[in-house]
Subunit: 338 residues, 2 copies
DNA sequence: TTGAAAGCGTTACCAT
DNA sequence: ATGGTAACGCTTTCAA
C-alpha cells in the first residue's frame, strides 16, 4: 500500500549494540564531549552514519529543556507579510536545527488560544507574533507566557521587544528619489489615516516634499488609488511625482493615469510601497517601490527569540529596520524645461 | 527586562503533591483512564485547572511514539497555493492537538534535505508535500521516510497518495457558465502548454466550447493575457466569452479589452481561474473565477496523513477534488440579437 | 480505589 | 578511555 517503508527508527541503543560499546560512549562520541580515543569516536560516528542513526529530538528536549522549535503566530491571512518574514526566520534558524510551527489565526481569540496552548504543550523555545499592521495587536494575550515572545510587524505590549520596518525612513527614500529625478510637484496617495504606518509615511513625505504637499488618505486598494488620481486631475491637480502608500494603490494610480492619457513615467513618476513582487513587477510599467526587508526582519526576530530562550537579557523596545528602494520602470527624470 | 515571567512549568509531580495523590493517579484522572472515584477525578481536574497544569508533549510523545506534529513542505514561495492549503490543514488538525511545521524550500535540494531531517528528528507523525504545480515534484526524495507522506498540489511518486484539484471539472464549470449566459464564440487564453494543468483545462474547454475553439497558450502573467487579447483583436478575432487559465491572465485580458474599447462584461464575458482573492476582487470589474478549494484540499490531506500515521491502510492514487465557481462581475448575459 | 515501578531515548555525572 | 546509573515528565502495567 502507500506506506510500506515505515521502518521503526533506530535508537542509540541499537547503535551501541552494533558498535559494541555502551550508550554513554556513543552519546559522547556523537556529541564530541567527554574523553575517548579518536579512533573509537570516528568509528562510532561512521557506524552511526551507516545505519542512519538520528537522535530523537523529543528525548533530547526532555532532558535539555529545549525543543529547538519556535512558534510563529500570525493573523495575516494572505501571507503578504508573513511569508517573507517566515522565510527569514526559517533561514536564520534551520542551521541551528530549529523548526518553526506556523499558526494562522483569523482574529479569532478562541482559536488563537488553542494554537498558543498547543505550541506551549510542545515546549516551544519561544514565540514570534506577527501580523499585518504594526499598530494592532493579535487577538490574544501573550504577555505571561513561560517562553519569550518577540513581536514583529504587529503591536506588542509595553516593555516587549518589537521589530518593525522604518516607515519614515522608507518614505524618505521614496520621496528623496523623486526629488532627485527633478520631480517637484509631489502628491502622496495612501491608505486610511487610522493606520499609524500611513501617518508616519505621510509625515515623512511632508517633511521632504514640503508642508503644503497634498496627502490623500483613502483605502489600501487599487480602486482607491485610481479614484484619487481621477479626482485629483478633475480638480486641476497636476503633480509630476506620486508617492503611493502601497503597491496596490500605485497600480490603481497608474491605471487612472493611463485613463487620463498621462504618461508614466514620462509625465509623472510613481513610487509604491511594499515591493509586493507579484503586484509590482506585473504593473505597466513595473513599479519602483520601497521594500521593507521583511526577510531580514524575520531573521532578526528569529535570532532574538532564540537568544532570549538561551537566557540572554536584551533591552526591550521597538527596533526599526531600514527599508530599501527597488528601482523598476515607473520613474524617470523630469523633462528639462528650457 | 523583557522576559520576566519565565516561570518554570508545572509538572505532574507538582500537581500530584498539591492534590495529595500519586503521579499515576493524576495521570489516570486527567486522561479518563483507569478506575477511581469520580470525586477524586473531578478534584484533580479542578486543581490541574487552577494551577494551570499542561502535560509536556515531549514526554508524552516519547512514550506514545507520536508527536502530534506534522510537517508541511513547500516550494511555493509566494504562498499563493500554500497558505490556503495550510489554513485547511491547520484548521482540520488543531482540534486534535496537532501542530504544523512549515518549511519553505526554494528548489534547493540541500536545504530541503536539512529541513526534512530536522522534521524527522522532531518525530513528526507525517509530512505533507506541497508546491505550486501538480506536474512537478519537490526537489527532494520523500519516498523512503519512516513516516507517511501525502502529496497535495505537487507530484508524488507512483503509489503515493496525491491530492489535486480537478482542473478539467473546474474548466467545465467555467465554460458551462459562459455558455449558459448565451456566449457562443469562446476563446481560452492560458499559460504554457508545458503545464499539465493548462493542458487539462484546455481540453475540457474544447470539449464544451467545440473542438475548433481557439486555445492560446502563453505565460501565466498579466502581460501575456493582455498581449494575447490585443493580438486576437488585431487578427480579427471577436469572441464574446474568454476563459482564462488563471486570474493574472484574466486581469491582463480585461486590461487589454479596455484598451480596445471593448466592454466587460457587456461585449465580452471573462472568467478566471484560481480565485486569488487579492487579484480577482480588485480587478475592474471584479473577476468571476474558478476556486480550487485549496482549503478543503488541505483539510483532507491533513486528515489523511494523520490517519496513515495511526496505521490505517489507505488506497494509493490521485484524488481529485472538485472546484467551484465564484461569481463576481466580469460576466453577463449575451445581448439578445433580434 | 490508589500507588510503585518500569520504561520511552537521550545526556550528564561519577565510577571504574 | 569507557561504562553504569540517574534523571527529564509522562503513561502503563501490576500489586496492594
Amino acid at each position: 500500500m502507500a506506506q510500506e517503508q515505515k521502518s521503526s527508527r533506530t535508537t542509540i541503543h541499537d547503535l551501541a549494540r552494533v558498535a559494541g560499546v555502551s550508550v554513554s560512549t556513543v552519546s559522547k562520541a556523537l556529541n564530541d564531549t567527554g574523553r575517548m580515543g579518536e579512533d573509537t569516536r570516528a568509528r562510532i560516528k561512521r557506524i552511526a552514519e551507516e545505519i542512519g542513526f538520528r537522535p530523537n529530538a523529543l528525548a533530547r528536549g526532555l532532558l535539555s529543556r529545549r525543543s529547538f522549535t519556535i512558534g510563529l503566530l500570525t493573523n495575516d491571512t494572505y501571507g503578504r507579510f508573513t511569508l517573507p518574514l517566515m522565510a527569514g526566520v526559517s533561514e536564520a534558524l534551520v542551521d541551528k536545527g530549529v523548526s518553526v510551527f506556523l499558526c494562522a489565526i483569523e482574529d479569532d481569540p478562541e482559536r488563537a488560544r488553542v494554537h498558543v496552548e498547543a505550541m506551549l504543550d510542545k515546549q516551544v523555545d519561544g514565540i514570534i507574533a506577527t501580523g499585518k499592521r504594526i499598530d494592532r495587536a493579535l487577538p490574544v494575550d501573550l504577555s505571561n507566557l513561560p517562553v519569550p515572545v518577540v513581536y514583529a510587524f504587529t503591536a506588542g505590549p509595553p516593555n516587549s521587544i518589537t521589530y518593525a520596518s522604518d516607515d519614515a525612513q522608507g518614505a524618505e527614500l521614496a520621496v528623496a528619489y523623486l526629488l532627485s529625478l527633478g520631480r517637484t510637484r509631489l502628491v502622496h496617495i495612501t491608505g486610511p489615516d487610522m493606520f499609524i504606518a500611513a501617518v508616519e509615511r505621510a509625515e515623512a513625505f511632508r517633511k521632504l516634499a514640503g508642508e503644503g504637499a497634498p496627502v490623500l488618505y483613502g483605502q489600501w486598494t487599487e480602486s482607491s488609488g485610481r479614484e484619487a488620481v481621477l479626482d485629483l486631475w478633475r480638480q486641476g491637480g497636476r503633480p509630476d511625482g506620486i508617492f503611493c502608500g502601497n503597491d496596490m494603490i500605485a497600480r490603481g494610480v497608474i491605471d487612472g493615469l493611463r485613463e487620463l492619457g498621462v504618461s508614466v513615467p514620462g509625465d509623472v513618476s510613481v513610487v509604491g510601497f511594499d515591493n509586493w513582487e507579484i503586484v509590482a513587477s506585473q504593473s505597466r510599467p513595473p513599479l519602483t517601490t520601497v521594500d521593507m526587508n521583511l526577510k531580514e526582519l524575520g531573521r532578526q526576530a528569529g535570532l532574538t527569540v532564540l537568544a532570549l530562550g538561551e537566557g540572554q537579557i536584551l533591552e526591550p523596545g521597538l527596533r526599526k529596520l531600514g527599508c530599501s528602494l527597488v528601482v523598476r520602470g515607473s520613474c524617470s527624470h523630469a523633462p528639462i524645461d528650457e
